[in-house]
């Protein structure tokens, strides 16, 4: 009898520990809830979540409705990474650009970038060539941006014993180029706490 109970308890524990885990590699939905949650880095769901919240905030603010023209032209300025990780800030800005572009209220310039560097050098060259052939100044075919997007990524880590907590702050500002005034600003924070990384959330 004792053996049966012990065997049953062992099986139950095993079931709890393994669950529906599949150790082999498989495809999962990057927008789903089976992704890894790690405490020491920004995960794909964190980028998605931060971008979604910031886009919603920007649209709710009504700042884009007051743009001098529709769709407004947006340029991407400096996004400072003050976290301990090496991250590509496009993980955030590209999602925001795509979402804003879909609304039809914003188009992003790819021929004008920070420090004079164009995201699409071919488009810039072609535009300058077209201006030259038409006897126009190079700026004639360039759309000057109405707004520029800048921001900062911050990280705050704290631990007590084995418990760890990490907060990532995503700060963005939308500056009206004509006036130099920030017409929208927001910050969203994502905090993760626990002792170790997990699969699924």
């Amino acid at each position: 009898m004792m053996k049966i109970i012990s065997f049953g308890a062992g099986l139950l524990t095993l079931a709890f520990l393994t669950g529906c885990a599949t150790p082999g590699a498989r495809y999962i939905n990057p927008q789903g809830n089976e992704t890894i949650v790690s405490l020491n880095q920004i995960n794909i769901q964190d980028w998605n979540n931060a971008a979604d919240r910031l886009v919603s905030s920007l649209l709710e603010s009504g700042a884009l409705e007051r743009a001098p023209k529709q769709p407004a032209v947006l340029a991407i300025s400096r996004i400072i990474n003050n976290t301990q990780q090496h991250v590509d800030t496009d993980s955030l800005t590209k999602k925001i650009r795509v979402a804003l572009n879909r609304t039809g209220k914003v188009v992003t310039t790819t021929t004008m970038g920070l420090g004079g560097r164009a995201e699409d050098p071919l488009a810039k060259s072609a535009s300058e060539y077209a201006a030259f052939m038409n006897d126009e100044p190079a700026s004639a075919t360039t759309h000057l941006p109405d707004y520029s997007l800048s921001g900062k990524l911050l990280e705050d880590r704290v631990s007590v014993g084995k418990d760890r907590q990490t907060t990532y702050s995503f700060q963005l500002s939308l500056t009206e180029v004509g006036s130099g005034l920030a017409v929208w600003e927001d910050e969203t924070q994502i905090t993760k706490a626990g002792r170790r990384s997990t699969v699924g959330w």
Partner: protein, 146 residues
């Protein structure tokens, strides 16, 4: 025999314990000034456990940025202990075709005891006119030892 049973009960207590029961108390105006534009909704709840834990209070909608539909769903916990759920909002155009959107990504939401929370989303395009809110209990998590 008794010792084994006691050990199983203790193990059960450890598994079920650790969830602090703190309910959220609220105070609000008896006559709110805002008048929400309530949307009649259709609900399909397949998970009886989730139905026992969470219920939909109301669905509001509005328009932001000129022509983009915004929806807000008020959810409330039925439990006195914290509950975590995941949710996603999908958008559809006037032809019933699904529209790609960042709000389609699943997000997590944690309720304290008896707490009400709102989830909201803005249509990705002006032609996104209908939505579906998906709710799911939080998945069982598997730790990674690293």
């Amino acid at each position: 025999m008794i010792k084994a049973l006691l050990m199983m009960i203790a193990a059960g207590a450890v598994l079920c314990g650790g969830c602090t029961r703190i309910s959220v108390a609220t105070v609000e105006s008896a006559q709110p000034v805002g008048t929400p534009n309530l949307v009649p909704d259709k609900r399909v709840m397949l998970d009886l456990t989730l139905r026992r834990k969470i219920h939909v209070v109301q669905v509001n909608e509005g328009v932001v940025s000129g022509d983009l539909k915004q929806v807000q769903v008020v959810l409330a916990s039925n439990m006195t202990k914290p509950v975590s759920i995941n949710y996603a909002i999908e958008w559809f155009d006037e032809n019933g075709m699904q529209v790609n959107s960042s709000s389609t990504a699943w997000k997590s939401l944690r309720f304290l005891g008896m707490e009400k929370k709102t989830v909201s989303a803005i249509a990705p395009r002006p032609n996104a006119v209908d939505f579906v809110l998906k709710l799911q209990e939080s998945l069982a998590r598997r730790s990674i030892f690293n």
